[in-house]
């Protein structure tokens, strides 16, 4: 362990961030627990014990800080969160894309607004309960690698962090698997040891994405509904109340009135937000072998070309790929085709276990069916 740092431990009220904070203390750092209040009106966000935005979560974080024996504060990031994450989430859906707000939150809130404030207040780093590993590379730069527990690995949602952010980050759980973290929480007397994991988007109550968007988007243009069209026949096979309820690759909830000629299930292939047309078709047509990305973010030196792998959605598979970087664009040739790739999601680029960087998927090219 290096020199002791003054560390802000971001504590969501969950088990991971609690153990991460405890480990930072044990490593000799001077740690202050901070819970991020992301909603001005916590009751309007998710209720229940799975989120990170409820009063109960804030209390859980406070009790964990008590047990660990560190000071604890609530920082109000609700305005920034709304502007940078929630608004973006709505805009993206309104444009027919499928955003990942967790990446956005890491990029703009946890490792930006919070880190900036922490540094200005005299802290050296922010520690979180993310599962990822940091190490110093041969070139002296901080490298981020996948966690040893691949099932819990969260390097995907951290793929937006640049060198400056990584330099001030601590991920104390990167070497541990989840069951061990729970056992450790129990042994440390942390009451959140058996608290369920959070999976859904923290600001969407009950995980009802479409319902939330229906309410929030209101009369915004792409919310007006439209036709569902079969890509094979060009026939109108159904209708819908708003494109926000769909994502590329989706199979469920299409409510198609006309069965497919071959009797096989159909999937969402394309979303056209202006006309409101949702195109569906057979699974084969979901396959893509080329992905274009914009807004690249690099963890270290900007590469020209990466012969590595890419991950195209959270918990998604790794695909062997050749990535060519051209300024603000990346072009990704997939050696292993991928299915159901939605614009708006992030393509995170790996060299082995190391995260090279990421880009927001702007377009995909289907595999030419021969």
């Amino acid at each position: 362990m290096g020199r002791p740092l003054r560390v802000v431990a971001a504590m969501s009220g969950g088990v991971d961030s609690a153990v991460a904070a405890a480990r930072a203390v044990e490593a000799g750092h001077e740690v202050t627990g901070v819970h991020l209040a992301l909603s001005r009106n916590p009751a309007s966000y998710r209720s229940g014990a799975r989120g990170c935005c409820t009063i109960e979560d804030s209390n859980d974080a406070r009790r964990a800080a008590d047990v660990i024996g560190i000071p604890f504060y609530v920082w109000d990031l609700s305005e920034r969160f709304h502007e940078d994450v929630v608004e973006d989430f709505m805009d993206e859906y309104a444009a027919g894309r499928t955003p990942n707000p967790c990446l956005r939150c890491n990029e703009k809130i946890k490792f930006a607004a919070v880190l900036d404030r922490a540094l200005a207040l005299g802290f050296d780093a922010v520690a979180t309960g993310h599962y990822a590993r940091l190490r110093t590379g041969a070139d002296g730069l901080i490298e981020m690698h996948r966690a040893s527990d691949h099932a819990k690995d969260q390097s995907y949602v951290l793929g937006v962090l640049d060198q400056e952010q990584l330099r001030h980050s601590l991920f104390p759980l990167g070497d541990t698997d989840k069951p061990a973290v729970r056992r450790e929480a129990e042994a440390r007397g942390l009451l959140v040891a058996d608290k369920p994991d959070s999976h859904d988007i923290c600001f969407v109550a009950d995980g009802d994405n479409a319902g939330w968007l229906r309410e929030k988007l209101g009369d915004r243009a792409p919310n007006h509904g439209g036709d569902i069209v079969d890509a094979t026949t060009g026939e109108r096979v159904g209708s819908h109340a708003g494109t926000y309820a769909f994502t590329i690759g989706q199979r469920r909830g299409l409510r198609l009135g006309v069965p497919a000629a071959d009797g096989k299930p159909r999937f969402v292939l394309d979303i056209e937000p202006v006309s409101g047309t949702v195109t569906v078709g057979p699974r084969e047509r979901l396959a893509v072998d080329h992905v274009s990305g914009i807004r690249p973010r690099w963890c270290g030196t900007v590469p020209e070309r990466v012969d590595g792998t890419v991950q195209l959605r959270a918990h998604g598979a790794e695909h062997r790929a050749v990535v060519v970087v051209a300024g603000d664009h990346v072009e990704i040739d997939l050696l292993d085709p991928a299915e159901g790739i939605a614009p708006g999601q992030a393509a995170v680029i790996y060299d082995g276990t190391r995260v090279v960087g990421s880009a927001t998927i702007s377009a995909t090219r289907p595999v030419v069916v021969r």
């Binding site: 202050t32 209040a37 001005r40 109000d76 900036d116 200005a120 207040l121 005299g122």
Partner: protein, 393 residues
């Protein structure tokens, strides 16, 4: 070597006085329900009644005026709801409650509840930029229809910015129309002279832990001829308007604290005001654009209150940085679900959202020393500098 804490948050709660600790511990080992008829019960009852007499004696009330409660919030609820309900039952036209925009949440929230759930017409009257009730606005509100006013409630002294309120004038105005007046004197008792009968108010709230007594006990001092509907029903222990077995050790301790703090109020106020003035002067020397909120230092301000604005800072950052240096104070803003809200008091005084967030409340008390002030003055410069840097990001 860790330095002792510098506790400058006495308006939140102040350490118990030794006499109060002693009175409490003496009673903790005894037994007796003050409602029981046997010797132990009579003994407990005697402690309660002697406590009541002691308190009445030092605050200018009759013993029968003193109704023991669980503290300030309960007393405020009892006064507002209890008097409103009784007054409206006597005359259904009495639906209005007049109060100020800078009351504590223990007053504001019951008023909001009465307005939303019980048909009350609540008017929160404006204040001056120094945080003092606008009497012209009060007079206009009363004169609009005096017969419809059920109750006026105005705090004796504001908990955030320390401004004393014109209780005499409020009482005189209300008396013209026989409207009852309640005052929340939680911050005032022991800090400034408080005489219940001389003030002319009909009901007055105070609580133990702000005067060097224990938590969880307080009183509503309310004239016997004011009808008050009960909130908590049961054995009717306290004048049939408040039920629950009396907490004998807490009540004995409360009486000891009230007696001691009221008896020494004047010398306490002189000593603490001197430290406070020194604190404000020296903080402003270090941070030239820092400024005191509320009424000027003097007879219209609580002696221990220094509510200071630090332009360009977030109160939260200042608090955290001072806390890390062992100096404890308050942002003076209410916390809603752990999320700090801009202070309704400062907003009512005409501050904008930024100004309402850039302040700290230092409140001095009976344990405060010159050394505490020195430590704060030493720390405040670098702390403000850091907080400004954090804000600028």
């Amino acid at each position: 070597m860790k330095q002792p804490l510098v506790y400058l948050d006495h308006a939140a709660t102040t350490p118990m006085l030794p006499v109060a600790v002693e009175a409490m511990t003496r009673q903790l080992t005894g037994v007796g329900n003050a409602s029981s008829l046997h010797a132990s019960g009579r003994g407990a009852r005697r402690v309660v009644e002697e406590s009541r007499e002691t308190i009445a004696g030092v605050i200018g009330a009759r013993p029968g005026d003193v109704v023991f409660t669980s503290g300030g919030t309960e007393s405020d609820n009892l006064a507002l709801k209890g008097i409103f309900w009784s007054r409206r039952a006597e005359d259904p036209r009495r639906t209005r409650i007049l109060s100020s925009a800078i009351e504590h949440h223990a007053v504001l929230d019951p008023l909001h509840w009465l307005a939303e759930s019980d048909g009350a017409d609540v008017e929160l009257l404006p204040v001056t930029s120094e945080g003092v009730l606008d009497l012209d606005a009060l007079r206009a509100a009363v004169d609009r229809d005096p017969g419809s006013v059920a109750l006026i409630s105005v705090m004796w002294a504001n908990n955030e910015v320390g401004s004393l309120q014109p209780i005499d004038e409020v009482v005189a105005l209300a008396a013209e129309h026989a409207i009852p007046v309640h005052t929340d004197a939680v911050q005032a008792l022991g800090q400034v002279p408080v005489d219940f009968a001389a003030s002319g108010v009909d009901a007055l709230t105070f609580t133990g832990h702000k005067v060097g007594g224990p938590y969880g006990v307080g009183a509503l001092v309310v004239r016997r001829d004011v009808a008050v509907s009960a909130l908590v029903h049961g054995g009717g222990q306290e004048r049939d308007i408040r039920s629950g077995t009396l907490d004998v050790p807490a009540i004995a301790s409360l009486a000891a604290a009230v007696e001691e703090s009221v008896k020494h109020q004047h010398e306490h106020a002189v000593r603490v005001a001197d430290l406070r003035d020194d604190l404000v002067r020296r903080v402003v020397e270090v941070v030239p654009d820092a400024h005191l909120h509320g009424t000027p230092s003097g007879p219209l301000r609580l002696p221990g209150n220094a509510h200071i604005g630090f332009p360009g800072c977030e109160g939260d950052s200042l608090l955290m940085l001072l806390d890390a240096r062992g100096i404890e104070c308050s942002t003076g803003s209410a916390c809603s679900a752990g999320v700090p809200q801009p202070s309704h008091v400062l907003l009512a005084m005409g501050c904008d959202d930024d100004q309402a967030r850039h302040s700290l409340r230092f409140s001095l008390g009976h344990t405060t020393t010159r050394d505490d002030v020195d430590r704060l003055v030493e720390a405040i410069g670098p702390v403000v500098e850091r907080a400004r840097a954090a804000r600028a990001r």
